[in-house]
């Protein structure tokens, strides 16, 4: 669906994309993460042709994006919704009119527009603000208008640039649920740029980490989060280290979906007959279950016993260097 090969782009002397290769399949919810300034927004903007790339190839449905300029860039864009990082709402139109605008541009009839706008307003919970101008909206309300507008035309591809950064957790959940629903029901492809890992975990099927103009780490979300590749650590920081107990040894064990309900901890406690504490944990909700890692702390002499046990169970583990 979306495929980029050796994509390169520079702004003046600074090269933003050195060599981006990625493939997003139809129906994917692809998460794109990276440090601030990594080029995520720029990449999204290349996808719908708002930004031009220097060399390499970027293809949507097998056609080079730059070729769309000559054959119907409008139709092309009609099928690609975009939620902008800075919302980009019309100040002089009401919430209603902002959401209606794409449909107006495509000459939908008034009744259809009205129906769809009201539907979208309900979806993002802004029925009451329908006739207000964006100026008086709160940050999150603006963002919701931007979301509604991007969905108005029922796009086949949806580009979300930090689409939930200004939303409270509950609203975020409901928006994410919405995105997942439309992904599942309508099979639309979604590219999600975000700094909220919880967003990636909750809805993305795949994730790519943009670092130094390249996209070297990419794959299934659960794999990446389990493997904790260096580029992920670069992005997240290894926060826990600082608060892990310095006494004893810390072992990180990785849970997979299928390990969750298997009583590992309790059985291990009894079988190995050693004491340990759970000192850190990230059991997090992913698309379809819980997944994560736990760090247990134990006396140095117990390490062998525990790790052996984990190994026999086929559970991944890693000894954490606590820097002493």
């Amino acid at each position: 669906m979306i495929e980029s090969i050796n994509l390169q782009k520079s702004f003046g002397n600074t090269q933003v994309f050195k060599d981006i290769n990625l493939k997003i399949e139809e129906g994917d919810i692809y998460g794109l993460v990276g440090r601030s300034g990594a080029g995520k927004s720029t990449f999204l903007r290349c996808i719908n042709g708002l930004e031009k790339y220097d060399s390499g190839s970027l293809m949507i449905d097998g056609i080079e994006v730059r070729d769309y300029y000559n054959k119907g860039i409008r139709e092309f864009r009609k099928n690609i919704g975009m939620i902008f990082q800075h919302f980009s709402l019309m100040n002089r139109k009401t919430v209603y009119e902002n959401i209606a605008l794409p449909m107006e541009c495509w000459k939908y009839n008034k009744k259809d527009i009205d129906k769809r706008v009201k539907e979208l307003l309900e979806l993002v919970g802004l029925e009451e603000k329908m006739n207000d101008k964006p100026k008086i909206l709160s940050g999150g309300q603006k963002q919701r208008v931007a979301i509604a507008r991007a969905l108005a035309l029922n796009p086949k591809i949806l580009l979300c640039d930090e689409a939930t950064s200004a939303l409270d957790p509950k609203t975020t959940s409901s928006i994410l649920k919405l995105l997942r629903d439309i992904n599942e029901k309508l099979g639309i492809t979604i590219v999600v740029v975000t700094h909220q890992m919880s967003v990636i975990r909750e809805i993305c099927t795949k994730v790519g980490i943009l670092e130094h103009g390249e996209l070297l780490t990419k794959g299934d979300v659960e794999d990446i989060f389990l493997q904790q590749p260096q580029s992920l650590i670069n992005l997240l920081g290894e926060e826990e280290n600082s608060i892990l107990p310095s006494k004893g040894k810390n072992i990180r064990m990785f849970y997979r979906k299928e390990d969750i309900a298997t009583n590992i901890i309790s059985r291990m406690a009894r079988k190995s007959d050693v004491d340990f504490s759970i000192v850190w944990g990230k059991l997090e909700k992913y698309r379809d279950g819980v997944l994560g890692s736990i760090v247990i702390n134990t006396e140095e002499e117990n390490v062998g016993i525990i790790t052996d046990y984990l190994t026999t169970l086929g559970i991944k583990w890693r000894l954490i260097d606590n820097g002493q």
Binding site: N48, L50, I80, H86, S88, R92, L101, P102, C105, R149
Partner: protein, 218 residues
């Protein structure tokens, strides 16, 4: 003095009507033309929606050429045009043509700079859902810059009132022309300042209306 007041009274109405007539129609036409020119300029400019150096340069030069003419010379120079359009080169009707010709580029420039001020992000957003260039211009750029455009048109109307006094050269009459020919030229200060006071009122009303609309739309 008393006599002058009587004169003043007797001419203010008809001349006021002529002024209205000229100002109304030239505002109407020059706003239309101004908009059209401004739109073409802002679409074809270097960072516009559809850059086209040739069209931009030609229009840009044309505007500058028109704006370079001292108004009275312009009035004379375009007499053939005036005559072709309204059938005569004198009178209030004829004055509308040069007034429109001189003010259209003026409005065009003002609207052009208003349009250029529109946030590029909004234009991109519109592009992102496939709006056509004309839709971007009308539904985004113009809509967003309406308050500034209102100020511009207010300014232009007041300029038209100013220019219309020079249209006296075409025998068009109007308050400004009366102030000049019956007042200034004839050393009749009553008529001169009397008509100017009426013009001040008109200008105040235009400005107040403009400010009101601006605030309303902002």
């Amino acid at each position: 003095m008393d006599n002058n007041l009587t004169i003043l009274n007797s001419i203010i109405w008809p001349e006021l009507l002529k002024t209205f007539y000229m100002v109304f129609f030239s505002t109407f036409f020059s706003t239309i033309f101004g908009f059209m020119i401004a739109i073409v300029l802002s679409i074809t400019r270097k960072d516009g929606l559809n850059p086209n150096e040739t069209i931009y340069k030609v229009l840009n030069t044309l505007i500058n050429v028109i704006r370079s003419f001292p108004f009275i010379i312009l009035m004379v120079a375009i007499i053939p045009l005036t005559r072709a359009l309204v059938g005569t080169s004198i009178g209030p009707k004829a004055a509308i043509v040069p007034l429109t010709v001189v003010v259209s580029p003026f409005i065009a420039r003002l609207i052009e700079s208003s349009l250029n001020e529109v946030d590029k992000g909004l234009i991109e957003a519109a592009k992102s859902f496939g709006a056509s260039n004309l839709q971007i211009v009308f539904k985004v750029m113009i809509k967003e810059s309406i308050p500034l455009i209102i100020s511009s048109i207010t300014l232009a109307i007041i300029s038209i009132i100013g220019f219309s006094s020079m249209a006296g050269a075409l025998g068009a009459g109007g308050l400004g022309a009366v102030a000049l020919t019956y007042g200034y030229q004839s050393f009749n200060t009553t008529i001169m300042y009397g008509t100017v006071v009426v013009i001040i009122f008109i200008v105040q009303i235009v400005q107040a209306t403009g400010n009101f609309l601006y605030r309303k739309l902002k």
